[in-house]
């Protein structure tokens, strides 16, 4: 019997071995941990999609496709039922059941990073081994979107205590923990070796449930290369097969290369300036704010400084999001800006201060530099200071300058999230307006957002969110610049296009290499 099994397994492995494909992958950073709940960041989610599987995931088009949940239904306004896939195994060989989902949700609610997102959820109830109910405290529009963040973990594997006597399920950011060093999920790849900050090696999981996946990558060697130029050079020299992100200034170079394919896609991260009305009384006048918006030419900035690696924005959420209104186009009109300044009584202009990051967003420093020039043309003299990201946010919170740069990417991939953090009246108790350093405060806008949060009718909700964007646009609540594009590049033969999406979670399990 055993021998037979061996032969069988061997035969099954033969075709895969014949096509043994290694993907050498380079990103700007490696995941902060092996524990998917330790930090909420793009890198961690990308990693989660390799080693774990979510209940559902976004398709390229923005819809949802079943993964560990084969289907789902809304049972009542507070309950969504998920029917789980059968015969799925974890990397340890344990069977995947509803218990693991419940366990994982519990753990998510203990995670500092994720508990905010999963706050509306009360509990996951296992109906049977392969059925689970997700319950929310209020009607919640984003249950499915949140299910994309639910990567069931191997509860048996993560239960108990490790050799240091510490619980294996502990979520620890700054110290040793079992989950930081070990991983067992249901994902297409299983952990082989990890040297933090140096290399992450993953092998194809032989018992992966998704036999229909075209993916033929048998091994991933993931090297973090933080330096842009070094990452591009690694791809050009054939040292790696795939890089992300691609610095915009290298687009022309990569496009010229016959053996390289470059794919870019509009992303959802909006870059904005906030004009502090409390610090700088001039900015309390909407005319001045609009004048600034008119004076800053984001179209030229995108073209010249970002090489088209961004989409000029007139609102917060990009096309495809609930609140998108095609009528809100980027403003640019120098004459009008001057006229508005004159109207506001600032014909001669004034002096002001500005802070920016210099290593957080794509070419952030250059954007600010260009802005200083553009504002000078309407008489506003800006003293610009730039900080690296590690120092920036404390200064941002302290509101040390009149104009502050901030980029925002909604974790929920939803329009409302932008405004909740950036535009709602700052309120320490509710946590709304946490990053609203412009101190813009508009009751109407706040009310609309509160209603939208509990509205489950998507059409009505979209209308509310569109109205929010319109109000902010008319008021000049902030200065929208652009949405950063996402970018990936790979050598010819790596079928990059089909697996990338606007969330920047490449589904490497489905990757095909010739």
């Amino acid at each position: 019997m055993k021998r037979l099994l061996f032969v069988l397994v061997f035969c099954l492995m033969l075709p895969t071995m014949a096509h043994a494909k290694t993907l050498k992958l380079a990103m700007d950073a490696d995941p902060e941990s092996l524990d998917p709940h330790v930090q909420l960041s793009g890198g961690m989610l990308q990693y989660s999609h390799m080693v774990f599987d979510p209940l559902v995931r976004f398709t390229k088009e923005g819809g949802f496709e079943p993964r560990l949940a084969e289907k789902w239904e809304i049972i009542d306004p507070l309950t969504t039922r998920f029917y789980l896939r059968k015969g799925v195994k974890f990397h340890t060989g344990n069977d995947f059941t509803a218990k693991d989902v419940a366990w994982t949700l519990d753990r998510l609610k203990k995670s500092d990073d994720f508990k905010g997102l999963f706050e509306p959820f009360t509990v996951a109830e296992a109906v049977d081994d392969h059925t689970v109910d997700l319950k929310t405290s209020k009607p919640y529009a984003l249950v499915l979107a949140m299910a994309t963040y639910l990567f069931p973990m191997d509860s048996a594997f993560y239960t108990g205590t490790d050799d240091q006597g510490k619980p294996k399920d502990a979520i620890v950011k700054t110290d040793h923990s079992f989950a930081n060093k070990n991983a067992s999920g249901t994902g297409p790849f299983k952990l082989v070796k990890r040297e933090h900050g140096v290399v992450l090696e993953l092998d194809r999981f032989a018992d992966y449930w998704d036999k229909t996946s075209p993916g033929n990558v048998s091994k991933i060697v993931f090297t973090p290369i933080p330096e842009n130029a070094a990452r591009v050079a690694a791809l050009l020299s054939g040292g790696v097969d795939w890089i992300q992100p691609v610095p915009p200034q290298d687009y022309p170079r990569l496009e010229k290369e016959k053996n390289i394919q470059l794919v870019t896609m509009p992303g959802t991260r909006i870059i904005t300036f906030q004009l502090n009305q409390k610090r700088k009384p001039e900015f309390a006048d909407p005319k001045v704010r609009l004048a600034i918006d008119y004076a800053i030419d984001s179209v030229t900035m995108v073209e010249k400084l970002l090489k088209g690696a961004a989409t000029p924005a007139g609102q917060q959420g990009p096309e495809g999001m609930a609140g998108f209104d095609p009528a809100l186009t980027p403003r640019q009109d120098l004459e009008k800006a001057k006229a508005l300044m004159k109207e506001a009584g600032h014909e001669k202009g004034f002096e002001t201060t500005m802070i920016c990051t210099n290593n957080r967003y794509v070419n952030d420093e250059k954007i600010c530099e260009a802005t200083v020039g553009m504002l000078a043309k309407i008489g506003i003299k800006v003293a610009l200071t730039t900080y690296p990201k590690a120092q920036y946010w404390d200064h941002f919170d302290a509101q040390i300058a009149d104009i502050q740069l901030i980029g925002w990417h909604p974790d929920t991939e939803d329009s409302a999230n932008y405004s909740e953090y950036l535009l709602m009246c700052p309120n320490k108790d509710t946590g709304f307006g946490q990053y609203n350093s412009g101190n813009y405060c508009n009751k109407e806008l706040d009310d609309l957002l509160m209603q939208a949060a509990v509205e489950t009718d998507q059409a009505k909700r979209s209308e509310m969110l569109r109205k929010v964007e319109r109000i902010a646009y008319e008021d000049g609540a902030y200065v929208p610049l652009h949405w950063q594009n996402l970018s990936w590049a790979a050598r010819k033969g790596v079928h990059l296009e089909p697996i990338v999406n606007i969330m920047d979670f490449p589904y490497f399990g489905d990757l095909v290499i010739d």
Binding site: N228, A229, V232, P247, Q249, D250, Y251, P252, R253, D297, T300, M301, K304, L305, K307, E351, T353, I355, N358, N359, E365, K366, C368, E369, A370, V372, G373, M374, L375, A376, K377, K381, V382, A383, L384, T385, T386, Y387, P388, Q391, I400, A401
Partner: protein, 347 residues
């Protein structure tokens, strides 16, 4: 605090003014000295230095180039086609304009954009001149500060020995452990807290001089101390001590001249290094404000565009920097060879 701010914010204009004054004096002297002070001129012209200089084509070339560059950089407000540090003059539409003679260049706007424009649309030639001034001021200023600190500490440590030496040399070790980057972060943060965000643009040059000067004095200190250790056992020092000369006098007049050779070597190379350090700090986000690029940071930003075809943004400033540093170093090599009292023994 106010006074300090006032002093610091005047540092750069003062240095500029001094440099211009010194340069003009130099030329006046070159031109007029011959007629106004024939005796002094004659002695100077007969000196070994001038004699060797006249025979050395490389030295002549280096001095010529260096003078041209110095004049060009300190006279930049008058000779540069535009003022690249004035944000109002930025035109993003002109970004990455190629040099005038190339396709896509702007020959009708001459003299602006002769060498093209950088990524922000600044006229490249003007930016290079302004940037060179910043680089020169920082490079020379920082090296002076390093040298003064380092020599004083090294002399004291080496000569006095014992506890003082231990203390000072360990202080050097402490200093070395804080790299330039950390010093930049610390001092930068302190200045920004003290004077507010708005002042950074005006204070950046003196701050950077302080940072680079502070971060790298131990090299001088250790070198000087090593030489002092070797020198102080020699009879002439013993003799001076016996005669009862005060310690500082022995150090300054007797020991120091004998330790100068490595100090001079380090200094000439260090000027280049200081400029590079400033560029490196810009690269890491702690250098000159982006609105006032130095030559080094110009090379940095331009470098990103090198492979995509806009080679001029980095190649022209790069070449200028190489020529500048090369001429400083070759002239330094020459002066060291000729002026060193231990080398020049006549016959």
């Amino acid at each position: 605090m106010e006074t300090l701010f006032f002093i610091l914010s005047w540092t750069q204009p003062t240095i500029n003014a001094l440099a211009i004054a010194a340069l003009s004096l130099f030329f006046l002297w070159m031109l007029g000295g011959r007629f106004l002070m024939p005796a002094a001129w004659g002695r100077f012209a007969d000196s070994h230095l001038v004699y060797s200089f006249r025979r050395d084509a490389v030295a002549k070339g280096s001095l010529g180039i260096l003078l041209v560059l110095l004049v060009a950089s300190f006279a930049c407000p008058w000779i540069a086609p535009t003022n690249p540090y004035d944000p109002a003059s930025l035109d993003l539409m002109m970004a990455q304009t190629p040099p005038a003679w190339m396709e896509g260049g702007e020959p009708d706007q001459l003299p602006a954009f002769v060498l093209g424009a950088d990524d922000q649309g600044r006229d490249l030639l003007s930016t290079m001149l302004y940037g060179m001034r910043v680089s020169l001021v920082i490079g020379i200023g920082a090296v002076l500060l390093q040298a003064v600190l380092g020599i004083a500490i090294g002399l004291t440590a080496g000569y006095l020995g014992k506890r003082v030496e231990m203390l000072l040399m360990r202080l050097a070790d402490v200093q070395l452990s804080f790299s330039t980057l950390l010093v930049a972060i610390f001092i930068g943060a302190m200045f920004r807290t003290a004077f507010g965000v708005a002042s950074y643009e005006r204070l950046a040059v003196p701050i950077l001089i302080c940072i680079i000067g502070l971060a790298e004095w131990p090299q001088y200190a250790r070198t000087v101390r090593a030489s002092v250790l070797a020198e102080k056992k020699k009879e002439y020092v013993e003799a001076a001590r016996v005669v009862g000369l005060p310690a500082w006098r022995i150090m300054l007049r007797h020991i120091l001249p004998n330790t100068l050779s490595p100090v001079l070597v380090i200094s000439t190379v260090q000027v280049a290094n200081a400029m590079m350090t400033e560029a490196g700090l810009s690269f890491l986000g702690f250098g000159m404000p982006v609105t006032q690029p130095s030559l080094g940071s110009l090379i940095n930003t331009g470098f990103e565009y090198l492979l995509s075809g806009s080679w001029w943004i980095t190649i022209f400033p790069g070449a200028l920097l190489v020529v500048l540093i090369l001429s400083i170093n070759l002239l330094g090599d020459f002066c060291r060879d000729v002026m060193n009292p231990r080398l020049y023994k006549g016959m």
